[in-house]
Symmetry: D2
């Protein structure tokens, strides 16, 4: 069942609400002997942490992750790893109003209808704060991948914010870590900052498109027919708050192509891979080809805005609402490290499944 769980052999269950005492992730199935400590996880936590620039929510959280189990003397032991992050800046008073009114674009109304009870403080379980736990778990996955598949690299970056797109001709991997938007285009970074400042002052928000690249993945990962690598990656992205679409390789544009345009010819390319192009996005038939795995996903604009919107109360009466509090003008920014964490978990999971069902490395050789 596992409705708050992802993964098969490497399994992550997240728990916790925005304004509860803590949240975290229960990680089961990590291989033993992986070097890991809290400092190593904190690097990833800090990447997602709120309040690091003026473009993200001003909630102040240290997001300090504690490892409560599953390691001994700095190594994983093969037993469940409990990762806990205490909430320190909840300010419940900010949220008194929304216990009665449903915020447009939020899960308030659906949680209410489903469960008949909900924790309204900061969105409770439906808050993007839950993704902190995913990032912690993703840190464990990264550590295991570093040991088992040392060449694999997982990098997310923003390619669109609202109406603004990056210029692919200016694409520069080294820029990604140098601006608050994880954008691989220095010109765009500056332009987008000005743009977002304006939106923030207006209490407005904007959507974003994130691209994710997994390089160095071995060929042969993935499992037809339903547990495909692309299916699992897509599900991982769609499970992130506010994500409304996901695509692999050519993606939605594939609908407009012919077979000649789309199918990648096979020959020994300059990059040492067997393909002349990568329209497939590194996955064929649900199994990795050894090329870069490339996907994109769309994040909707933050629903909490300072505009007056129509809504209703629990008793069905018409009302108006302005969502105050501390929010992200572009929640897509913080989705970047979350997506990386999810991708790391999926890649590790499929690496372990492959080892279990097939063995070390691909079985079929070419040449």
């Amino acid at each position: 069942m596992s409705l708050n769980t992802y993964g098969h052999l490497f399994r992550v269950t997240t728990w916790g609400e925005s304004h509860g005492p803590a949240l975290g992730a229960t990680v089961d199935g990590c291989p033993p002997g992986v070097p890991i400590d809290e400092a190593a996880l904190q690097v990833w936590m800090d990447k997602r942490k709120p309040g690091t620039s003026r473009y993200t929510t001003q909630r102040r959280e240290a997001d300090a992750v504690r490892i409560l189990s599953g390691t001994y003397e700095g190594q994983t032991t093969g037993t469940p790893i409990q990762l806990m992050i205490e909430n320190t800046d909840q300010r419940s008073k900010d949220y008194g109003d929304i216990a009665e009114k449903f915020r447009p674009g939020h899960a308030d109304i659906t949680y209410w209808q489903k469960y008949g009870i909900r924790d309204p403080r900061g969105g409770g379980r439906s808050s993007a704060r839950e993704t902190a736990a995913r990032v912690a778990a993703g840190g464990v996955a990264r550590a295991a991948l570093a040991a088992l598949a040392p060449g694999m690299k997982i990098t997310g970056y923003m390619v669109q914010m609202g109406a603004k797109h990056i210029d692919r001709d200016r694409f520069d991997w080294d820029q990604i870590d140098k601006n608050p938007f994880w954008v691989p285009d220095a010109v765009a970074a500056e332009d987008w900052g000005t743009y977002l400042d304006g939106l923030r002052k207006d209490g407005q928000s904007v959507g974003a498109m994130i691209e994710l690249c997994v390089s160095g993945a071995p060929a042969g990962l993935g499992a037809p027919v339903y547990g495909k690598l692309d299916t699992n990656l897509a599900a991982a992205m769609m499970s992130i708050n506010a994500v409304k679409g996901v695509e692999i390789g050519e993606g939605m544009a594939a609908a407009g192509l012919t077979g000649t345009d789309n199918a990648d010819e096979i020959f020994m390319g300059d990059d040492g891979h067997y393909f002349g192009s990568n329209h497939a996005g590194g996955i064929l038939g649900g199994i990795s080809t050894g090329q870069d795995i490339v996907l994109r996903f769309a994040v909707k604009p933050t629903s909490s805005i300072l505009q007056t919107r129509r809504t209703i109360t629990k008793s069905g009466e018409a009302a108006e609402i302005v969502t105050k509090g501390r929010h992200d003008p572009c929640v897509g920014i913080r989705a970047v490290p979350v997506a990386e964490a999810m991708a790391a978990a999926v890649m590790l999971d499929h690496l372990l499944i492959h080892r279990g069902q097939v063995g070390e490395g691909p079985r079929g050789t070419i040449g």
Copy 2:
């Protein structure tokens, strides 16, 4: 693990290869007492069946589904339902060549690399023929939904083929069943026929975009945080052969919107729902709102084309290949009934989960 399985309480495992003696679906978890027989399933099978128009593969298969277990006197008994479809028109001789060469755009090379052995006849397990089993299982899901959620209606239709889009102003539900493309636009249907005839004569293929609408779903289905209704629907679509992207509601376009544009205001609308618009696509926080659930997915052009393409052999030598045999110029056409079947399975699964964990109907009332 369940790498050939989908669902939680309503679980479907498909099995079989394109040119083996048979293929099918093992369906576990269907409620008891659902009226079902082979004729009822055959209606859906016929919708997907090859060879029904000149626009799909000319392979001749009756696609007759047999129920081998799980029913008694025309009703489900609560035990596993085995659905078997015999392959009758395999023509293995057509495929002798591709045992040695990898077809571009196909899973030949990845299956080989992963497993070191593959059934090359017709693509083996990676053939779209596997989706016949999904349609059969979807027929069972539809029968159960008819009993448990009688107002729910699941309809797929094509909205784009290659560069050609429907005209939303001509959208007509009644047209969908009246043309071989399941397109809700009579003018487009005629135009696309001519277009596809040309591609077919050239041995070319083209991609497509399918839209799927689930109307009449009750509010409250879905389960945060990972087993979300949209996550599960997206995974279901992504698991279909040749699908490269999926989106819900505004989808990829949400990246370009502001919060004001995107978040649906809440008030009693003319359609009896609590929302003034449906940018969300009927799902908020992973849970159904009661509005129409609307998603789209892109199907890449058939990779088997009559063009000469570069490839390599198993021994690594450069080669050329022209994929003869009987293929679909637009495999997206037959993805329509497959997507409906997958959606039916997901909707039923979440209905059963909701019944189990929450009870009959939504728990929270409004007003």
Copy 3:
């Protein structure tokens, strides 16, 4: 996969080691609206807590359980419930010796061989301390059962300790809570106390047999063919540390019976049930009959004893070991509340599954 998880719809994952900072249980799938708080859980924790009599380990743990998520204003919300118990009396110095030597009867050697790393402090993950987390999770299950199946009652009690058996003629439900052994026989309770005092002074230990009775379970729970109610109950008991056997109804003795002796005739009995006897132990074909569900399981004697035993070191050298530290002369005593907790989780799980797949209550009526 879920190797540290049990349950299907009601899922419990435990985490934590004997001497880590904390241990706990992640509980997913609990219905919403169940009244629960830490005090209610503590009642069950106190029943298992070490140091409550001279017959159990003298380790001093408050075993205070904290609810970190999944409840709001005293009710479950349908989101994951995190239950944490801090370890306060670890005394790591007691265990320095056993990092190098494997203790006979313990999992030291198998953990080492499997993982190549282990937390030796107090047995790490293999310690019976892990069962504290199960008891906490069982408390949540009991609260949900109280709401959904108010007549159900789950009671464990000891029926054998070493060579000593209870006298069934003296069976008295009211005695169970009145002695430190949970034994329904006042005479046995006194006798066993003297017996165990002697063993304790000798640094010796002894095995035990526990019986568990679930009364008031509705007919119809369970799911053929593999997810049977008896299969799941048996697995739950076998998963408890030191359990070496489990039986339902006549159990192992059924091997010695004839069909006439064993099959329960069906007629309206005096107790309002449809059976004249209960050799089946309340389960037929994996599904509850509505009668009492009765099972027994054997707990081996504590392996940590003050006797000198032969062993080897990690480097393979012969050695001797005497396991000092604070241990239970009869670990079976504390298995009683653990078994109750596991049974509560299994019963709730099957109740939810039944609701999901079949609906409220049994579907087939008699008469």
Copy 4:
């Protein structure tokens, strides 16, 4: 959920009823490249097949297993393997009476209460005929084990039938295949034949105790805390029809032992293992020690007997019933190959899990 499924990475779902057209097993997760064909499976099928001696049901079934998918040119391909066995000797007329009356000791009444519909012909899904599918799946598991763990040997044998026990001093592995009871004691075999002849003539039945030994299993298989090797083996046995109890190593007798008697000392034994005895039954802390894994389970006497028993009808009226038809006087006989098949599946599953999560072989070395 998987209520008709067992296993994690090696997953088996059985389907089919006693008197339907066919039954079978869907096997997912078998490693690729395992040599397998129908003849190899048939060896195991024939061992369980009815009508092979006068001591088992006279139903005549060829039990011919067909492989419908998942193999190519005599090897597994890594895709799902469908195993189908057609029913050829159903004789539905034999079972007309029991559609209205519930047979004592059978699942008729519980299936009815749970589902409100049941296939009464031969017990439908609850018939021991379902175990034919398990034996077929076990044949696949054995083939994979032969490739991956060639020294592993799985042998079941009967040690008790009714009041009659084997004499352990006469234990002879070579006798097991030489008598219809799989009993390792030539004297007992002859005696039990006479005994069972008498029971058969009286229309009576009797219970049995089966012992199962897995030799040659590597150390390190199994996974604490819940997915333990002993838990999974116990669940596998308990899921077999008519099994009422299961025990590992000393089993139920452990309740009567002291710690000194029970805990196996550790030193290099004559058999090349690290233990001086095997009270543990080859498993410590849920993980294999490398010694023989030894378990026993009790099978109740066949409930279908020629004695007149009291029962009720669906309408609640008192009635009498004599179960005619073709039945086994000791259903435990045919449980032997079924148990072997289940054990093979569990051992393979844990071997694959270990490979996935830990890697090839144990990680920790001694000496």
